[in-house]
């Protein structure tokens, strides 16, 4: 929580030009927050459907989430999947986290940071 707040303040102070640098700084440090969001039943709740390292009682409607860097080198693709997988696959059961306001942009970035540690 504290991390997230300081990140916000930093981002606000730094402004647009060096925003990219702040983002890459946060990439490593937001991962623990991302894990919390991914495991939280009221937020990502990704374990309902995905096996994830260190995650208790996972379901299996979706594939195990591992080896993310190798499989999704393009960060944009992961952001798109977590934001609204129905765009890629209209029949997917994966909830459209962004469209349905379950996760906001910042939270999705944090979850993706976490995914890249898998």
């Amino acid at each position: 929580m504290e991390l997230r707040q300081s990140h916000l303040v930093l981002a606000a102070v730094a402004g647009g030009l060096i925003g990219a640098a702040v983002l890459s700084w946060s990439a490593a440090s937001a991962a623990p927050v991302g894990q919390e969001l991914a495991f939280d039943r009221g937020k990502g709740n990704c374990l309902t459907c995905h096996e994830i390292k260190d995650g208790p009682a996972p379901g299996n409607l979706g594939p195990a989430l591992n080896d993310m860097k190798a499989r999704f080198p393009d960060r944009k693709e992961l952001i798109a999947i977590v934001s609204d997988e129905t765009k890629r696959n209209p029949l997917t059961v994966m909830p459209p986290f962004k469209r349905n306001l379950i996760l906001n942009d910042e939270e999705i970035e944090q979850i993706v940071d976490f995914l890249y540690t898998l």
Binding site: T48, G59, L61, T86, N89, L91, V93, P96, N100, L101
Partner: protein, 280 residues
């Protein structure tokens, strides 16, 4: 994985098409396609075994089930329901007086389409209508008392195949269609239809729960769930499933719930009543 999704896609799109195309409603054709989808996807599951819900999908669970059934946790509800059926109202009549054959061995005929009121009448609704017609207080649709009554009626009907009729009445077909549409429509913050879980994903695990197939999904109702520590009526189960996807559950026995029940029960035609059921 992909192939599974693809097969589900064909089925779901196929079922949704008449909804969009304004074709004539054809329950018989739906029934055939629905049954074929499940028997093809689960060729090793015996047709009559689908009524056992999650147990038909998972060997490990089935073993636990056999152990649970040695001391059936719903037995108490069946006994209680039996007593309640025989107990006279203030006016001297009984619940049994409202039903054919005193309510014994008739569960497989519900819901039915009542051509007088133009509505689907489920068992839970019929029970409350009986209470009210006799000056008694209706029961909460999610209560243990309601579950006890339907548990008793299911128990005395075990093995009898679902025999749901859709009379050739445009209102009956419209009710059926509305139930079908409800079943395949996504809703809730999590964006699920009933079919997302029970047609697309049966046998899959949501956390540790094994999803029941939609074929025969009502035959075992009501159920005792160890997780709840008590009985659940059909109403309770529908409302719980709606809540799980952060949707808005309908009021008990809302016309839409009754229509869904009509649709699903018709899809279960020919499969034996197995209720009351016991679930993890």
């Amino acid at each position: 994985m992909l192939r599974k999704l693809f097969v589900a896609a064909v089925f779901v799109v196929g079922a949704a098409q008449p909804l969009l195309a304004d074709n004539a409603v054809d329950p018989q054709a739906d029934f055939k396609a629905f049954r074929e989808y499940f028997t093809k996807r689960f060729p090793k599951v015996q047709l009559d075994d689908f009524v056992n819900g999650p147990y038909s999908m998972d060997e490990g669970l089935r073993k636990q089930w056999k152990a649970i059934e040695e001391f059936p946790p719903y037995e108490f509800a069946v006994d209680h329901g039996k007593e309640a059926f025989a107990k006279p109202f203030k006016n001297g009549k009984t619940l049994g007086d409202c039903f054919p054959n005193k309510g014994v061995g008739i569960r497989q005929n519900y819901p039915y389409f009542d051509t007088k009121s133009g509505e689907v009448i489920t068992l839970e609704l019929a029970l409350n209508q009986c209470l009210e017609a006799n000056g008694e207080k209706p029961l909460d649709y999610t209560s243990q008392e309601m579950a006890a009554l339907t548990a008793y009626m299911a128990f005395t009907s075990r093995g009898k195949p679902f025999d749901i009729k859709i009379p050739n009445d445009p209102r009956a077909l419209a009710a059926y269609r509305s139930g079908e549409e409800y079943f395949y429509t996504r809703r809730g913050q999590l964006n699920f239809s009933c079919a997302s879980c029970h047609v697309q994903s049966p046998g899959g695990h949501i956390r540790t729960e094994v999803l029941a197939p939609a074929l025969g999904i009502l035959n075992a109702m009501p159920i005792f769930r160890s997780e709840w520590g008590n009985m659940g009526t059909i109403t309770r189960r529908f409302q719980t499933c709606n809540s799980q996807v952060r949707g808005v559950p309908l009021p008990g026995q809302d016309v839409l719930y009754r229509n869904v029940e009509y649709y699903l029960s018709y899809m279960g035609n020919g499969l034996p009543i197995s209720g009351p059921g016991a679930r993890p």
